[in-house]
Amino acid sequence: MNRLIQQELEAVRNLTGELATLIEENLQLALKALMNRDIELAREVIRRDKEEIDRQEITLEEKCLRTMALYHPVAGDLRFLVTVLKINADLERIGDLAAKIGDKVIQIAELDREVYDTGGMKIPERFHAMHEKTVTMLRSTMEAFYHEDTDLAYKVRLTDDEVDEDKRVIREELEETIAHNPAQHVYLAKLIGVARSLERIADHCTNICEDVIYMAQGRIVRHEAG
């Protein structure tokens, strides 16, 4: 019995890893589509989210529920499964946000073909830093989960503030550009939307980290000051 449930838990852990890898790749592709103005790639990102990621999310949820129903896990095992269920929801939201970035790329292209094609779209410097920080955060978050590394989870939680700050700076910078250059407001506003999506992704990472801390320590740190 005990050995059987361990196998099931292992499978759940692997499925979670698979989902996280897919999502990270999709997020990267969405950002690449933005940088390279690649509409085809943006469409691919949305398709992957709808088909592969959503399906994987459902598979993982069903696996968790089935394991709970069949093996009646207790203590650490139960906490693990509950955590995966919560992480699953957060990961799925991150996937949706990546798709949303893809959607923004398409919108920018359609609304403002002129600006887009001539390469007039200037992406703020800070964007790259924010991109890197967010992806690093997602990676560290999943590493904290795989290794039940609460130290890392606490650390990742702290970087959320940096990403928030990035978003604030980017928003202000873009708003200023819009004020000087109202003709470009359409795509600049979309860019603010992308920054907001990245910030939301960082928030979801923070949620996952809190769940990881709960899983490892049985302690709920949500709503505590970081």
């Binding site: 292992e10 852990r13 692997n14 499925l15 890893g17 698979e18 996280a20 890898t21 897919l22 990270e24 790749e25 990267q28 950002l31 690449k32 940088m35 790259h128 991109h131 890197e132 920080k133 992806v135 690093t136 990676r139 999943m142 590493e143 795989y146 290794h147």
Partner: protein, 479 residues
């Protein structure tokens, strides 16, 4: 712990006692029968004899069972990998030969183990030193080994990911799929995948995987994958392709134009002298352009060859002569646009130079400065020395170069403003030539520019003799 052997001891002991006491009993009984009634005295003697028998049997049983116990302990030590202390061979002959056999076995085992260990160490060193990444997985898709190169390539911590399932350990869907394919396929498999770092930068990788054959039936087979980073190769390939495409395009443009005008001439324009004159002038101009491009290409390949050969002619000379010659040859062009060429600090000390090549580089820079400046401005050429380096800066007050183009203007045929460059008669190779010449000198060239305010190109030359062979990259695959 000693249960098994103790039991042997007690068995032996009990056996001896039983045999000896039964013998005693028989002896006493017979004696009793013979002597009739001397049981009182006999009882004392019997007790004494029984004690004696017990002691003798004790030692006898011990003598057989203790060496066995000793051998068992030694075998346990060997199992723990400690081959240092052999068994003491003592006791009865059979036990002694057993002990000797055990000792020989231990020796052999130790030898084999050490050989294995040495081989393992060697393999480990080879893996660690390999430029290619190597990962091994078992049949359950767990990562069993990863070398430094692979860990670096995949940006994972080897200590952390070892033993993890590949879905957690190798965060790349393409690579995961490849591992699965390798495990499912008896034939070697290969494939490519793209790694992305946190900043979204791509690395193109190739993986070759083979299934490992299992050592015996109990063990399940795994697989080993070799990862190589193709990023640089890919980039060079692209550059080469771009270069060939660019050259073809650059050569084609003037030829198309010459062909077009010649055709018009043949179609009747020859009859109209005024038109014919204009067309032939265009043809001449295009032919010159073609010539200039080919000339520049030849220069590039010549510099490159010189840079490659160990006998590149560098001399420790002051810059005055090549700088003076360069300024002199640019004067007519400057005069035509009423541009003043101002030279500052030309007497600054010597450096390792090839005067002819350096003159060419300076002509290219000054010529550019004149071309891209409005009439009547100043072009300033400043020589200075700093930190064991000699710098030559050519500053104009022209239109400047947009920041986005700055990193690319030294590429062949790259032009910040295509239309204007062609109008001004540029070949798109001038700065590439400058870069190559400076590389031959073991130096570097940098540019600073503000749009609307002008650009400054600075050549840095070493005062130390550059190492032989510090040539530029290849003509075709230069970065």
């Amino acid at each position: 712990m000693a249960g098994e052997n103790r039991r042997l001891f007690w068995h032996l002991y009990a056996g001896y006692l039983l045999v000896a006491l039964s013998a005693l009993l028989v002896v006493f009984w017979l004696t009793g029968v013979a002597t009739r009634g001397l049981y009182q005295q006999l009882a004392g003697g019997a007790l004494l004899m029984a004690l004696l028998v017990a002691v003798v049997a004790w030692f006898s049983a011990r003598r057989l069972s203790y060496p066995l116990e000793e051998i068992r302990r030694a075998a346990e030590r060997f199992a723990d990998g400690n081959f240092g202390s052999p068994v003491r061979a003592e006791g009865v002959e059979e036990v002694v030969s057993l002990a000797l056999a055990v000792n020989r076995m231990a020796e052999q085992l130790g030898f084999r183990l050490r050989a294995n260990e040495r081989q393992r160490q060697q393999l480990q060193t080879v893996f660690a030193a390999m430029v290619e990444g190597v990962i091994t997985v078992d049949a359950n898709q767990r990562l069993t080994g990863i070398n430094q190169a692979a860990a670096r390539l995949l940006a994972v911590d080897p200590e952390r990911v070892r033993g993890q399932n590949i879905r957690l350990a190798l965060p790349n869907p393409g690579l995961q799929e490849l591992v699965q394919r390798t495990l499912a396929n008896p034939a070697p498999s290969e494939g490519e995948f793209t790694l992305l770092d946190a900043g979204g930068r791509e690395r193109y990788c190739r993986a070759n995987g083979v299934l490992l054959s299992a050592a015996d039936d109990r063990e399940e087979a795994g697989a080993v994958l070799v990862l190589s980073d193709l990023t640089r190769l890919r980039r060079l390939e692209n550059l080469r392709r771009d270069f060939v495409a660019n050259v073809s395009h650059e050569l084609k443009t003037p030829i198309t134009s010459i062909e077009g005008f010649a055709e018009t001439l043949l179609d009747g324009a020859l009859e109209e002298p005024e038109q014919a004159h204009r067309f032939v002038a265009v043809i001449q101009q295009q032919a010159r352009r073609l010539n200039a491009i080919i000339e520049d290409l030849l220069t590039l390949s010549r510099i490159e060859q010189e840079g490659r050969s160990p006998t590149v002619q560098l001399q420790y000379l002051p810059l005055q002569a090549p700088l003076g010659a360069a300024v002199e040859s640019c004067k007519p062009a400057a005069a035509a646009k009423e541009i003043e060429l101002q030279v500052v600090g030309e007497s600054a000390g010597p450096a390792w130079i090839n005067p002819a090549l350096l003159e060419q580089a300076l002509v290219n820079l000054i010529d550019n400065a004149i071309k891209y400046s409005p009439a009547g401005r100043l072009v300033r050429i400043e020589v200075a020395s700093a930190d064991g380096e000699l710098t030559v800066a050519v500053a104009d007050q022209g239109q400047g170069i947009p920041a986005a183009d700055l990193s690319r203007i030294f590429e062949r045929f790259y032009r910040a403003d295509k239309a204007r460059s062609a109008r001004l008669g540029g070949t798109g190779l001038g700065l590439a030539i400058v870069k190559h010449i400076v590389q031959v000198h073991g130096g570097r060239v940098e540019v600073e520019s503000t749009v609307g305010r002008g650009s400054t190109f600075t050549i840095f030359l070493s005062r130390q003799r550059p190492p032989a062979g510090a040539g530029p990259d290849s003509l075709l695959i230069e970065t």
